[in-house]
């Protein structure tokens, strides 16, 4: 093996040392009652809480759905992993010292096998954790299992679970990447980067031997690690902000003339917006004005690019009128007198009817109602 290959390989082996102190994986849950979240770190030989009592609290919560308590002493992989990593460090260093390529292959091979076995074992443990449910559990939901994702996020009942590799895994990744770099370096016809120039210097003038700039490659590796570290493994990603803000919707409607009923749109809660395939935009202060516009001009579906109404309870989301549920409730008064409220949620529509009375209508029914009420021919 080339000299720099052996150096990089030694570095790769040593990069596994932090794995003994840093968590490999982080699994967290966030629930309404646990806005700060509960969670656990998978360490090389242990499972510990994000906070001191998190494991205990997770076990208490999970017993309701029959999940087995986490007892780190009973997870066999945690007994084996420290030896596996120690073996990789020792083997890697040995290979660097001996400098034979077959040892490099051996190291990379065993790294790959052990890594894969680790992931499989981890998955198996997660599977068992989520599926091995006590049949006498108080809360049983047919078909429901609670396996946390291997990587990523998932909604499990009221818990938003997330699972991400943590710092330890990052070092493992860096280690194997450096191992790959060694392989690549070995089969590259000439040395790369600074080494190339050193060799050139040496061939040109063997008497003035410049000191090989052996510091540069590790420095580059360190920078790569640092950047990777900084960008590493946040917990759960932010849920995307829901729909448009009030200000956005308001800017679409408020202050514009109603294109059918006339008058300026003030309160946007009842409003709507229709865009034709020609690109013309029409704005309305109420659902019934938009329906009237459609009825009067005989606008067919094919002529409409989008037709939206403001969701009533939210007051700022624009929803597709053809998908929306409308409730005609005399307890509310819309600006145009037909008292039509729009929503896209079944439950809200149900509650509006339950609390305020009135009928639920589809968009086509609204158009028919307006045609009838306003005597549009």
């Amino acid at each position: 093996m080339r000299k720099e290959s052996r150096l990089i390989l030694a570095l790769a082996a040593l990069l596994l040392l932090p794995v003994f102190f840093l968590p490999l994986w982080s699994i967290g849950v966030v629930a309404p009652q646990y806005s700060d979240g509960l969670g656990m770190y998978i360490m090389i030989d242990d499972v510990v809480g994000h906070e001191r009592h998190d494991i205990q609290n997770l076990n208490i919560l999970n017993h309701y759905i029959g999940m087995q308590p986490i007892v780190p002493e009973e997870v066999p992989a945690l007994d084996i992993m420290p030896w596996a990593v120690a073996f990789l460090i020792g083997f890697g260093l040995l290979a660097a010292v001996v400098g034979r390529r077959f040892m490099l292959y051996g190291w990379l091979g065993s790294f790959g096998v052990l890594g894969a076995a680790g992931m499989v074992e981890f998955y198996r443990w997660l599977y068992d954790y989520g599926h091995n449910l006590d049949p006498t559990a108080p809360i049983k939901i047919p078909g429901m299992t609670y396996q946390p994702p291997l990587i990523g996020t998932e909604q499990l009942l009221n818990m938003h679970a997330s699972s991400w590799p943590s710092w330890g895994t990052l070092f493992i990744t860096l280690s194997i990447l450096l191992g790959g770099l060694v392989l690549w370096n070995e089969f590259r016809p000439i040395r790369f980067l600074q080494w190339k120039r050193d060799q050139k210097d040496r061939t040109e003038d063997r008497t003035v031997r410049t000191r090989p700039r052996s510091g540069q490659l590790p420095t580059a590796a360190a920078i790569v690690s640092l950047v990777a570290l900084l960008g590493a493994c946040g917990q759960a990603p932010q849920a995307s902000a829901e729909a448009e803000s009030y200000d956005q919707t308001r800017s679409v409607l408020a202050g514009h003339e109603d294109d059918y009923c006339g008058g300026t749109i003030g309160e946007i809660r009842f409003g709507g917006e229709l865009v034709t395939t020609d690109g013309d935009t029409f704005r309305f202060l109420s659902t019934e004005c938009m329906a009237g516009f459609v009825a009067e001009n005989g606008i067919a579906n094919g002529q409409v690019r989008s037709m939206k109404v403001v969701e009533y309870t939210h007051g700022s989301r624009l929803i597709d009128a053809r998908e929306a549920r409308f409730v005609r409730s005399e307890q509310h008064s819309s600006p145009s007198g037909l008292d039509i409220l729009a929503t896209d949620r079944e439950l809200i529509a149900y509650n509006l009817r339950r609390f305020f009375g009135g009928d639920e209508l589809s968009w086509d029914e609204v158009v028919e109602l307006v045609r009838h009420e306003w005597d549009i021919r």
């Binding site: 205990q56 208490i60 919560l61 309701y64």
Partner: protein, 661 residues
């Protein structure tokens, strides 16, 4: 004629000038809400925190409530001197001792003046003290758990009203007799021998700087007046404490008239540092005094009571240079020291001015011996020698003063029902604003210490009358929140309070919030009857005492079936909440228990005593909604007739155990 019409014209202009700003202020905003500024200043959005913690005394409920400012939202009620069936405070075996006194356990008291511990004259947020007025005591509340952890009785004292004010490094928390009583303990004398037999006591309770543990250090013997309120000095006056007196007339009946005759009563100035030295030098004598000191000896165990039988009493006739009287008009109520420590403001309850004494003038008057007379070894300084100024036209019935740190003082004025702002430089009134109605104490966060946060002021008023939706003849006592950051005071909100707050304290949330405890550490629980693991749950019999070591966790008690108890047994349920999760509490109650529930915080052990008097099956259950299966958190105790009980056994699910096996 022309003069009249001119006058009318001015009157009209004046009315317009008044009406216009009123109209501008009163005009509702476009959103239709209340005047926009006040609403937004007190609005704390969901999920956000208040800027200040406020601690309002409970007055006649003997408790203390915790609030947020500026929102005026109540967070907690801390039981202190009263039994509290909600939490089991004073009912559970652990807390009973905290209510012990030499007169037996007291189920109730009247708490007036909370005071936060101080470092260098500034509130440090470690503990808060509060007095019991009726059966004189001082309590200490730990501000990491917001629980009462210690009480100490003040002996040979009638009405501990001028309390519980701390000195500027919490060396002492002070107490004083509001009602002078016979000097000798338990003396049986005619009431009309008041002048011969009665006396007053000023008490200095030492506070351990590390643990906060209190101890009765010494008392000072003072003439038989009423000692009303107190403040320790600060900065240059830090070695001193000041007490108002009334009833220097020494009336013992119909004080309303009898104690209101003298033109001047006194402020008593006490050099406590010198007094402590004199006591250390052996100048005090031990006198009989029975008093209780109640505290937790270990983390999470039972509160215990030490009984003491004497107290060190220092007579000013035996030690000079400690006590001085400052004549002050007229039945002064509050005595407050400005942030610099130089000005001593008296609330001349029946006076037409607010008298302000100067500490430095007081010192020079003492040096020059400008004495009017000497009463019981206490020199009376000349009024002219100590007074720095008088605030004219302060309103009717000035009571208490706090400071904003910008050179202004704010005095509550009871009869004219207002807050008066005045300048510490010119002693002129700068602004006044009404209160609803009849304000007692007022409070600015830090307004009594060296570093006021002069942003808000709350006034605590004595009667609500028509301010809120009515609730029968008795209404809640209101508090008003004012913005005092500008030249003019602005009222922001008006909210009902809990109990009858007298004085209050407030502190920046940042001084308390980071130290808040979320759980009691189960591993550190030193309760002799705690269990650390659910497997240790068991029942033991010692004669006719049965101890149930019960574990509580979501969602069961362990054990939850118990048999082998008989009528005549005394049963102690030692309930340990083995959870370590914030705000997950369990409660415990059993049918017919003649007791209050116990609420058990995570990691805590609380004991419920039960003496069954009838045979049968007695259900018990968790009283705090802890979890989705809270309703399932229940159990049964079987009680048999005397001599007929089966062997003691207990069960949880499939696990069944019999005593001794």
């Amino acid at each position: 004629m022309s003069r009249v019409s001119k006058k009318m014209k001015y009157l009209g202009l004046g009315a317009l000038a008044v009406a216009l700003p009123v109209f501008l202020v009163a005009c509702p905003t476009a959103e239709g809400g209340p005047a926009g500024d006040a609403a937004t200043q007190t609005y704390v959005a969901p999920g956000e925190y208040d800027e200040f913690y406020a601690f309002l005394s409970g007055g006649y409920n003997g408790q203390m409530s915790v609030w947020g400012l500026p929102s005026g939202r109540m967070f907690k009620n801390i039981p202190v001197f009263s039994q509290d069936p909600e939490s089991g405070y004073g009912y559970s075996e652990e807390t009973k001792a905290l209510l012990n006194t030499s007169f037996g356990p007291q189920a109730w008291d009247d708490s007036h003046h909370p005071h936060i511990s101080q470092t260098d004259g500034d509130s440090d947020g470690r503990w808060i003290f509060i007095n019991a007025n009726n059966t004189p005591r001082i309590a200490r509340i730990d501000l990491t758990t917001f629980e009462t952890v210690e009480t100490i009785e003040i002996p040979n004292t009638g009405g501990n009203h001028a309390s519980s004010f701390v000195t500027s490094n919490t060396e002492y928390v002070i107490g004083a007799t509001r009602f002078s009583i016979p000097e000798e303990m338990d003396a049986d004398v005619p009431i009309d021998s008041y002048r011969e037999n009665f006396g007053g006591k000023i008490s200095f309770v030492a506070v351990d700087g590390e643990t906060g543990r209190m101890s009765m250090d010494f008392q000072l013997r003072v003439p038989p007046y009423n000692y009303d309120l107190a403040r320790a000095g600060k900065g240059p006056s830090a070695d001193w404490a000041f007490f108002t007196t009334y009833n220097t007339e020494q009336a013992h009946t119909l004080l309303e008239i009898g104690a209101s005759q003298n033109d001047k009563d006194f402020i008593l100035a006490v050099n406590w540092r010198r007094a402590a030295d004199a006591v250390a030098n052996g100048q005090a004598r031990q006198v009989p005094a029975e008093y209780y000191h109640n505290y937790y000896e270990s983390y999470g165990g039972y509160a215990i009571s030490d009984v003491h039988n004497d107290v060190l009493l220092l007579d000013p006739r035996d030690a000079e240079g400690i006590l001085y009287f400052l004549p002050t008009p007229k039945s002064p109520h509050g005595v407050d020291v400005d942030p610099s420590g130089e000005l001593i403001v008296a609330g001349g309850k029946l006076a037409t001015v607010i008298p302000v004494h100067s500490f430095s003038r007081m010192l020079s008057a003492i040096e020059n011996e400008e004495f009017e007379e000497i009463i019981d070894g206490i020199p009376v300084l000349r009024y002219e020698s100590t007074i720095a100024g008088e605030v004219e036209n302060p309103g009717l019935g000035p009571l208490h003063t706090e400071f904003d740190g910008r050179g202004n003082a704010y005095t509550s004025v009871y009869i004219s029902s207002e807050v008066v702002k005045w300048s510490l430089e010119t002693f002129e009134v700068l602004d006044r604003i009404e209160s609803f109605y009849s304000i007692g104490h007022l409070m600015i966060p830090g307004g009594d210490n060296v570093n006021p946060a002069g942003k808000y002021l709350i006034g605590m008023t004595k009667t609500a009358r028509d301010r809120f939706l009515p609730t029968g003849p008795k209404q809640a006592h209101p508090a008003q929140l004012y913005d005092i950051s500008g030249d003019r005071m602005v009222m922001l909100s008006d909210f009902p309070t809990f109990g009858e707050p007298h004085y209050a304290q407030a502190i920046e949330a940042s001084k308390i919030q980071p130290n808040n405890k979320r759980i009691y550490d189960l591993e550190a629980n030193e309760h002799p009857h705690a269990i650390k693991r659910t497997q240790d749950a068991r029942v033991e019999r010692e004669g006719n005492v049965v101890r149930v070591y019960m574990a509580h966790l979501r969602s069961h008690q362990r054990p939850d079936n118990i048999e082998g108890i008989e009528v005549g047994d005394t049963v102690y349920f030692h309930n340990t909440n083995v959870e370590q999760d914030w705000d997950v509490l369990h409660g415990m109650a059993i049918k017919g228990m003649g007791n209050a529930e116990v609420l058990i915080a995570p990691g805590q052990t609380k004991t419920l005593k039960w003496v069954p008097t009838r045979t049968g099956i007695f259900p018990f259950y968790c009283t705090a909604f802890c979890s989705a299966l809270h309703q399932e958190m229940q159990g049964y105790v079987r009680v048999s007739a005397q001599g007929e009980a089966p062997p003691l056994m207990w069960r949880t699910g499939d696990e069944q155990r019999v005593a001794g096996q």
